[in-house]
Amino acid sequence: MKKTLYIFQKGRLRRKDNSLLFEGEETGKKFIPVEDTNDLYLFGEVDISKSSMEFLSQKEICVHYFNQYYGYYMGTFYPREHLNSGHVILKQAEHYIDYEKRVDLARQIIFGSISQMTQVLNYYKNRIVSGADEITAVIDDFKKQLENLDQAKEIEELMAEEGHAREKYYSLFDYIIQNKDFPFEKRTKRPPLNRLNALISFGNSLCYTIVLSETYKTYLDPRIGFLHSTNFRRFSLNLDVAEIFKPIIVDRLIFSLLNRKQLNKKHFDKHTNAILLSEEGRKIFIRELDERLKQTKKHRGLGRNVSNRRLIRLELYKIQKHLLEEKEYKPYKAQW
């Protein structure tokens, strides 16, 4: 499978004949193996020429931009769509415009999201020192919530259900992490006000970009989401699908990074009104995330091993099949 490339240093990206050359301040000149590159993450201050953008677009490589100092996600250069099927786009739009169809899909996404949170809690329930009863109580709550989802007839109700679930879920983080340097306190996004929030925000933004890169490999239009409304100014389908993968990809990674002490206080910087992961911290986070995405598991439908990253693509395929009305979408459920 093609690789994801991360650039942390300052430098210049330009086209040289039939390849891309990165001139880094630290490492000097380096060629980027475009044929083997899936997408590009720019964390450093990278000057990028128009001809290299053209080349990246031609090679169908998405470029995700992050702010160098704060690590905030800034946006994605999503090359002109290369896969295009009028039929799929029309069906996607139809499922957005037809409110009932839209609610049905949004409900499945919320269902997937809460189920995945349940899976994470199940995993930690027997591995923690204290809080097993609290976790069990929330798992029971989630079960009831999932049963009641059918009654929700509005997107707003579904959003609220998800919000409540997430609140309960976050309230258990202290039991799972058990590290006084990383208390949950409360969820703060822009800006994150403590270390744990900084990790969640950073991880989630990466998760959005991964789903976006995978969407690029399908016929789906990332601007038409179902749970997150479409305003055509930003991508939203990736936010939908990320709901299902955040718990198992981002949250579990955070727990393991903290419990194995791969990240500690030192990896965070205090800014005037925010606490953010330092560059060193971001590097560690990404290295481990990349590892996790490459890990494979046996897939029952396909009868062979697929990577975690591939699971995201398969999820998008399932949504496409739902839109084509060939098979009702049932969200992925981790099995462990």
Binding site: K2, S85, H87, Y317, Q320, K327
Partner: protein, 165 residues
Amino acid sequence: MAVTATHIWYYFICKREVWLLSRGIAADQEDENLDLGRFIDRNTYQKNKKEIVAGNIKVDRVRKEGEEVVVGEVKKSSRFKESSRYQLLFYLDSLRQMGIEARGELLFPQEKKREKVEWTEEKKKELDKVVEDIRKIAKKPVPPAPKKINFCKKCAYREYCWAEG
């Protein structure tokens, strides 16, 4: 919809694939089997490949034997004989509509085999039925459900078809 030789090819293998192709839903572009196909195409047959393009058909070899035009189609293996036969018949029929009478030959160089394919009124009727059926499949609002067949293992759509689970 313009029925092409590709549709004919897949018609005998998987009707679902015909539908997907007809809606412009191409297979996974990173698929390793597809890459292998491209590689074989570009390398193995490059040397003796003299493609002839006429209208929307593309044939591998054409030669003249006396008054007769002979169209040769080179195939990797005889595994998909039915597909190969009808594809060639489709070519012969298209040529006929352009006023060229030809007979055909399927070549399987790796197996050192060849097979004759001739245009007859009867065969033409069968071909028309196939073309008609392809049009019907393409018009269906929903794709035919996937069926696990041997070909799935090598099919570039397999991740799409079997994503459930």
